[in-house]
Every structure is written in C-alpha cells, then in structure tokens.
Symmetry: C2
Subunit: 425 residues, 2 copies
C-alpha cells in the first residue's frame, strides 16, 4: 500500500473512530496491553536485532539506551496504557452551550482532530504512547519512527493494529511509515492529514514546516535558562542549577544558559563551580563572569546554542530586566526558571518571560507531560498556537459547533422580526 492509499484509509477510518464510544476505545486499549504482554518474546527478539545492528553501526551509548526496549519498558508502556484507560473520555464533552434564540441552541462539542502524522525519534516506547494517545482521543495516525528501531517498531505496530482492529476499532486507523520517502510523500497529503507532529531537532521541524501545507505542532529545540536573582537562596540556587543542567543533559528541558545577578555573582559562582566541576561540566562565560571564575569566553553563538551536553554558558546581568530581555531574545520559548526569595520578582519574571513554562525555585527539568501529570505526552510544543508546553490528550482534540433549530432562518434576524437572546445554557 502506498502512503496516499494509507492516508485515504486513515481519513475514512477517522470518521467512524471519532464516533467510537468510550467503552469500545478503552476495551481496545485493554486488548492492546494484553497483546503486548502475550507477544513480549517477539518484541524482545526484534529489539535485540535492532540493538545488535546499532552496536555494529557504532551508535553512541545514549542512543543505544534510548533504543533498548526490555521487559521493564514493556511494563512501563502497559502501565501507561492503564492510566490512559482511567482518564475521562475526552471526546463529546460540551465545552460551551448558548441559546441563540428560543428553540435555537448552540453546543460547542470536543472532537478529535482527525488524522495525525507523527514522526518520532528512536525510542520504541514513543510508538506505543503516541498510538494509544491517538486511539483514546479518537484520532487516526500515520507513524514514522527512528530508523534504528525498525524491527521493534514493526512488531509493536503489528501488535497494536491487530489487537485494536480485532477489538472493533475501524480498520485502517493506524499505519506505519518506514522510509524517509514515505515521510516526504506524507507531507503532500494535506487533503487527508490534519496535523503533523514532528519530534526532533529544530532543523527537522523547520524542514517539515517548509515542505508541507499541513499544520505542524512543533516539538523543537530547548534553549532553557536559569536566572539566579540578587535575592536568591544560594544553596538552593546551586542545587536547582545543578539539576537543571546535569540531571539529564541530552533532553530539551535541560538548562543551557545561566544568568546571574551581579550582586551575588562573586559569592555564588565559585560555589556553583565546585559542584559543576564534579560533573565535568564545561563552562563558558561573559567577560564579567570570567573576572570571577576561571572559564573560557562565551561567544554570541553560545547564547543561541542548545548544547545537549555537559556544557553551560554563563552571563552576569545587572538587573532582573536584563535577564528577562536576554531570555526573550535568545530563548527557544521552552522553559525558564528564576531562583529568588522575592515573590514579586518571581511574578515579574514569570509574567514577562514569553516561554511555555516559567518556573520559580525549581528545576527546568520538570517541564514534561509525565511530571505534569498528563499521563503520556505526544510532545512538547514551543509554538504558541493550539497547544503549548507538554502536550497530552488535549492537544489531539478540537471542537465542532452543533446548532439545533426548528426551521430558523437568518432573514428573520436581518429584518429584526426576531432578536437573538444569547443566553448561556
């Protein structure tokens, strides 16, 4: 089947899937988790093949770690599905209701977006999370995973498709794309696909946006900042900056730039450096920072760089306003934290920073669908339309307006023989 045929089928399936009831979707999710358990040997075998090939191709350790899909990971995705089953039905909710006139009632009803195309990285658990989120929210989906996880993805896809369709979910609601050519073909199918969710580098997301008319929910770079204010608790600041930078360096919510208020810089930076040195974090800094601690010089490019590594750029600022301005200039709009004892300064920072997640006295690493309590996430959006920050089920929903009348015509209101009541129901 080529991609256009897959997308046509998905569009067709999406219409009935949008109207599947809660029980049948939850039942299909139960069947999927059963099948994952029953067919786990098959999954582990496929994943071993992927791992072996990856080792032969000299993939880096962090990538190998992401690729690994063992018994624990299977248990994790199954427990993820269970929590998804327990979430309330997201489709068919009345979001607003208005009487336009007597006997003319308007309802705003939540519904799935329709057909989504999701392109994700090498973690095979992403395939399970994304497809089950789509199922729960009533969306058909075309999936494209990382090349490295080819065999694992194929088995997982097969399990999910077989189990869900046997449980009565419309045939053709889920498809697996396997090549980059498939992806390029998908980008043209704005007639059938309503939303693209590319997960990956900023360049990759930009490539998708430039080459498709389909709306994109962007999961892009994270150039995140910590700002240590003049009124910070310095011990807390060390702890939070250390976690923000080093708890897991290769993820989008890790901090890349530290801003430090000049009033506490002399005391704070040496304290922080002791801890960062223990973790072998490479430091670069502005000239003012270089006067306090021994670090290399930061270039303009450093403020714009997502290191995803044990590296941190440091800048001394004179005021909180300067920190806010630096962040609004260089941040990717993902996550920024302020460390201060002053609540007013915290509120100023959180209000004036134009980012999806703004934090007071805690690590930037908290911006994540699981930690936010969304269950799984489809991605983190740094765009400002539709969904922002960690995106769970809500990001896969839109609404339609249903208007119930009894022969009502607009002409009656145009010539003022009738008037609108516009009462909330």
């Amino acid at each position: 089947m080529n991609i256009t045929e897959s997308a046509t089928l998905a569009k067709k399936a999406s219409i009935s899937l949008a109207n599947s009831n809660s029980d049948s979707k939850n039942n299909a999710l139960i069947e999927i988790s059963k099948a994952l358990l029953e067919r786990q040997e098959e999954i582990l075998k496929a994943n071993n093949e992927d791992i072996e090939r990856a080792i032969n191709e000299n993939l880096s350790d962090p990538l190998l770690k992401r690729l690994k899909f063992d018994k624990n990971k299977i248990d994790d995705v199954i427990s993820g599905i269970k929590s998804l089953i327990n979430l309330p039905e997201p489709v068919g909710k009345t979001l607003a209701a208005t009487e336009l006139d007597k006997g003319l009632e308007l309802y705003k009803i939540s519904c799935p977006i329709g057909v989504t195309g999701v392109i994700f990285e090498s973690r095979p658990d992403a395939l399970v999370q994304i497809s089950t989120l789509c199922l729960k929210s009533g969306n058909a989906v075309l999936l494209k995973g990382g090349r490295e996880a080819f065999n694992t993805n194929r088995v997982l896809f097969n399990i999910i498709k077989t189990a869900s369709e046997a449980a009565g979910i419309p045939t053709g609601w889920i498809h697996l794309l396997e090549t980059r050519d498939d992806v390029n073909e998908m980008l043209k199918l704005d007639k059938y696909i309503d939303l693209l969710i590319p997960r990956g580098s900023n360049e990759f997301v930009q490539y998708i946006m430039k080459n498709s008319n389909i709306p994109v929910m962007g999961h892009a770079d994270g150039i995140c900042h910590c700002y240590v204010d003049s009124e910070a608790d310095l011990d807390m600041a060390v702890k939070v900056v250390l976690d923000s930078k080093t708890q897991y360096v290769s993820v989008c919510n890790a901090t890349e730039t530290l801003l430090v208020n000049k009033d506490i810089a002399k005391e704070f930076l040496p304290l922080l450096k002791i801890e960062l040195d223990k973790k072998n974090v490479e430091l670069v800094g502005c000239p003012e920072a270089q006067k306090i601690i021994f670090v290399n010089s930061a270039s303009e490019e450093d403020w714009k760089t997502e290191y995803l590594d044990y590296k941190l750029s440091i800048k001394i600022v004179k005021t909180i306003q300067e920190a806010i301005e630096h962040i609004n200039t260089y941040s990717s709009g993902h996550t920024e934290a302020i460390i201060t004892k002053n609540k007013e300064s915290a509120e100023l920072f959180m209000n004036l920073i134009d980012s999806a997640n703004v934090f007071w006295n805690c690590s930037t690493r908290f911006s994540d669908g699981f930690r936010y309590g969304f269950g799984a996430e489809v991605g983190i959006s740094t765009s400002k339309l539709h969904a922002r920050g960690p995106v769970g089920l809500d990001g896969l929903l839109i609404y339609k307006y249903k208007l119930y009348g009894n022969g009502n015509i607009v002409q009656d209101y145009a010539n003022k023989t009738k008037t609108f009541t516009h009462k909330k129901i």
Copy 2:
C-alpha cells in the same frame, strides 16, 4: 519605518501589553470609542474619497456596499466596542491547577498569543473590530486592509493608535501595512510574529501558508451544503434552503450545494424551484435531478465550486450515508445543515460530518461570530487546529504553565526518594 522595525516594536510592546490589566485595556477601549465619535467627520471624508475612487474604478455594487463606512457603521463599531468592554477579562485566567508534590504547584494560565498579523478584505469596520479584539486579548497587531479602503483605514488606524497609546497602552502595539510588498515582507518575520490571520479567498490563504513559516489561522472558502432528508418537513426545507442560498449570496456561509433524498425529491424540488426562480437563482443538477426539474447539467467541477452568487448545484442521493460521504468529500469543512424530523438521522449527520459547524433544521447562514454571541469575530477558521468555526477572543489566546516550587529538583523523583502526588488544586 519598515516592516521589520514595526514587527520588532510590536514584539516589544506585546510583552507589556500581555501584562496590562483589565482596567487599563478597557479604559483604552473607551477612549477609542470616544475618539471615533469625535473624529467622525474625518472618517466620513476619508471614506468618501475611497468611495469616489472606487466608483471611478468601476467597483461592483456589492464591493461598494462593503466599502461604505457611514454614520450607522460608526455607531455599529462603537456598540461593538462597548460589548467587548463588557466581556470578562480573558487574560490571566487559571485554566487548570495541579499539585505535583507538596509545595510544588503547577498553574495553566491564559495569555495572549503575542503578535498577530491580520490581512483583511475591503470592509473598514473589520479594522476596528480586529484591532479592538487584539487589544482586549492583549495582542499586538500588524494590520493590512483592502486597497480600496486605503484612506478610511488610515484614519481609523490613526484614531485607534493615538487614543489607545494616550490611554497608556504600550507604544507600537499596532501598525498599519499599506502595500502588498509590506505583506510579503511580513511573511518572513516568524521571529517576531506568532500568528497570521489571512481573510479572503482560498487561493490567498494558500498563498500565505506556502510563503510563510508563521502559523496561519485560515479563514478560507465556504462550500456549504444543505441536505434535505427523506423525513424532512418540506415547507421548512424550502424556507431553510432559500435562506441558506439567497439571504446573502456573497458570503462564505451561504449554501452552494443542495443534496436531496430521492424519496422526497419529486415532491420537494418543484416546490423549491418556484421560490428559487423568484430570486433568479441559476440551478445545475445531477442527471436524477434533471429528470424532475428543468435545470442544466452539473459537472464534477460544480461540486467543488464556491459560487458566492445566485447559483445552486443540486444532487439527488439515495441515502443519508451518501449525503454524508458527498459532503465529507467536497465540503470545505465550513457549515452543513440537515433538514429532517428524525432526531437520530440529525445526530448521525452532525456526528459523521467533519465540518466546523453542523446544523439541524436551520440555515447555514447562522455560522457567524455575532450570531453565535461572541461579540466581534476575527474570522472563521476551517482549519482543525487551535480554533475552528467563528473565532472570537478565545482564538487570540494561548496559555503558559507557571510552576511554583521551593528548591525542588527532578533527581529526587528520578531516584524515587520523592513521588509525585498529582492532585487537582
């Protein structure tokens, strides 16, 4: 000032505008309505110049009508601003709140999108509506109106800018673009502009989408349908179809295609034709329709055409399913109505039709922000992301996540010395 400078200023202003309080925004709206009244002679003079030039350029009567901005129109926009003032403050609302752990609280807070670029048609009242909606929702805006309304737009813009900035709204929150080159320059400024709202033809919206990386909220074609079911009240059906087609033909929510169930077609079509003939509506139909009434043959192209004129295409369908399938194939996803006495058929139609507005026993002409009770509207969206159908204030808002902690780090949860509580607050 060139467009990049305008957009840079708008971005800067948008940050403080996002944090302007309700009173200062409402006060600015009051000042704008006062200034519109005080300077009405200036507006009328400018509009007369536009009208004279338009007459010299042989603009069509409907276009001249849209261009006209007289005393009544001024009163209308002022009363629109008054109803906007009375709407509750949309910014800073807590949309959700979760305790992630003791002393670690997450708030989802509504906020403006930031900087919007709106390109609208020849009606000068659109300039007032859009800019005041942006002000109320805390968004900076770059406006480009129809060329025909050049003088009127310039005066209106000047009044709104002067009055709002004198009332304390940040300088540079509003800009007027005057040429097509300006628009093309604006399309490149994804660094400063967060959202484009093009209003106009489908081709125009497609052009904008193809030539910009900025997210687009599409206000595009309306290929709307009425379906007269086998169980329709035929008198009601005549009345509703007539209103849907002829109440105002040049707008996107006017019906373009009529689908008629074969069981009532012989009785219904002659009744309808009498009324449509009185309004000189040109009819084209499928072969089955041609057997019942004397009409020209409809081509495949007709099902895809938005006439915006006194013309209707007619197709006989065997079942409601065939009607649904025809609509899901040819509709632009705007508005579709079913006329039937059978509630179950109505629900089936409204659930399976993938359009923004789905109506039972009433005219397609009702899909409109004013009729829906939204006050003004920025446009009607046929896309399925962010906002769908008539878009009022809500479509100009997004949210940010604020997380309040006390030194919390992710490492404590990674090594399970702490666990998330995820309690609703």
